[in-house]
Symmetry: C2
Subunit: 272 residues, 2 copies
Amino acid sequence: RFTCSASNNDRMAFIDFPYVSTSHKHLMLDLVSTVQNRLNSFLNPCTLPPDVESYQNETGTAHAALHLQSGVQSSPIDFVLGSWLHCKLPSGGALNITSLSAYLNSSTDAPNFLVELIQSSPTSMVLILDLPPRVDLVLDPEYLKTFYEDTQLDKHRQYLDQLSEVKPYFSSSLYIRSVVSPTAILVRIETEGLEEMIKTHISPIAKEVLKTWLDVCAFGDRVVGESERDYLKKRDEMSKSKTIEIDLGSNLPRLFGQETANRVLEALREVF
Amino acid sequence: RFTCSASNNDRMAFIDFPYVSTSHKHLMLDLVSTVQNRLNSFLNPCTLPPDVESYQNETGTAHAALHLQSGVQSSPIDFVLGSWLHCKLPSGGALNITSLSAYLNSSTDAPNFLVELIQSSPTSMVLILDLPPRVDLVLDPEYLKTFYEDTQLDKHRQYLDQLSEVKPYFSSSLYIRSVVSPTAILVRIETEGLEEMIKTHISPIAKEVLKTWLDVCAFGDRVVGESERDYLKKRDEMSKSKTIEIDLGSNLPRLFGQETANRVLEALREVF
């Protein structure tokens, strides 16, 4: 099923998640395989070059992997992107980021899906979990009702908010704060028991939010008229190009050198 | 200057702020007089009927006051609205809300201004302080830069975030969460020393944010082309009608009875 990557060579493939803890890896594998299973007939094989699928810096202190599948013509999927990044920190620890995002195309205006786990120490993790909206919610209360109120997405955020180890997290990028939905889970988790926290609290919520996205958004059959498609395309393009600029524009060259960064960004810009 | 209301009768006028603490009252008076002074030539006199300017319920357990001034034709001001509400709680305490908001018209797309202090106990207060944007920020990174990044509005939110008495606040309304900016201050303050907290931390920040709004938004000379005005008008109307519905639609009848609620809502709907 993972048409891009095999683990039978030196490269560490996306699906290996080689650097993260067991419960973190299990969560990511569960989310990735759920997306693969449900969207199976919608997705093209991954066609990334091997040196973009998996890459590292010269000194071997930073590794990363990508898995990118575009949607087939008749599907509502623009593309699905998975990634992980591992980077040794000068302090002795390591930064580990894993993410999975799914973007719909302009045949529908239903929200996208995004999950990202950012672990900067054995006891600290940032979780971003959201269905980012694709229209201006201020102008469209019906959209807000359909995708955020009726789906009761806020109950997951409220549940995590009750846990003493969990604090709201504010992205340093105001643009990223603007892109997320009003029910976005943006939290920092500080605990000695991070493994248990992921298993008991984060995993069930992430799986449930993905299920909501698959049922209501990817398979929601919400069709958009020809006249609205230009607006959607424009907004999607702006949102994607700004997101890639903020996420990767400065970090990739810093971590992997300009040459590798250019190679990766060029491959991603084909879909972003 | 307060053309609507005099304090020389039984009614408690907007400008009296009769129920809140000294530092809370001083803050509101400072903000109101700053707006009055700076926007003086832009504002029409308040023309609310006396029984909308100040009203109460039958048993006298709930009082409220409004002060509304529309902008003169050639100004960028749509209207400025001040309000307070006092309501005895069954528990023995009282709920006190004071607010000041300023809406610009479609000659400019600069953000509006909003401050609201909601005190539900002597040791607990919710503060909402923001310049709500009037365009879709995802589509307009330049707007985000002009009004939110270059103005460094987020430093105020970050400053409050450092205080142990201050916690992020999430409105129960997803629509209200959508209307605010990415630098919105939405916090709950829990402290025995609320008076001191308002004086030392809240007041300077509220005054500074208002100054930013006056300098950069109300007097920003940011002109909007004819073609964008329809979009702005539509978005403003939706945002105002939803806000009034959420803020007052269910609360006013509950607190003051249907007849008074209808009278007040009717007066407000002329500008909202």
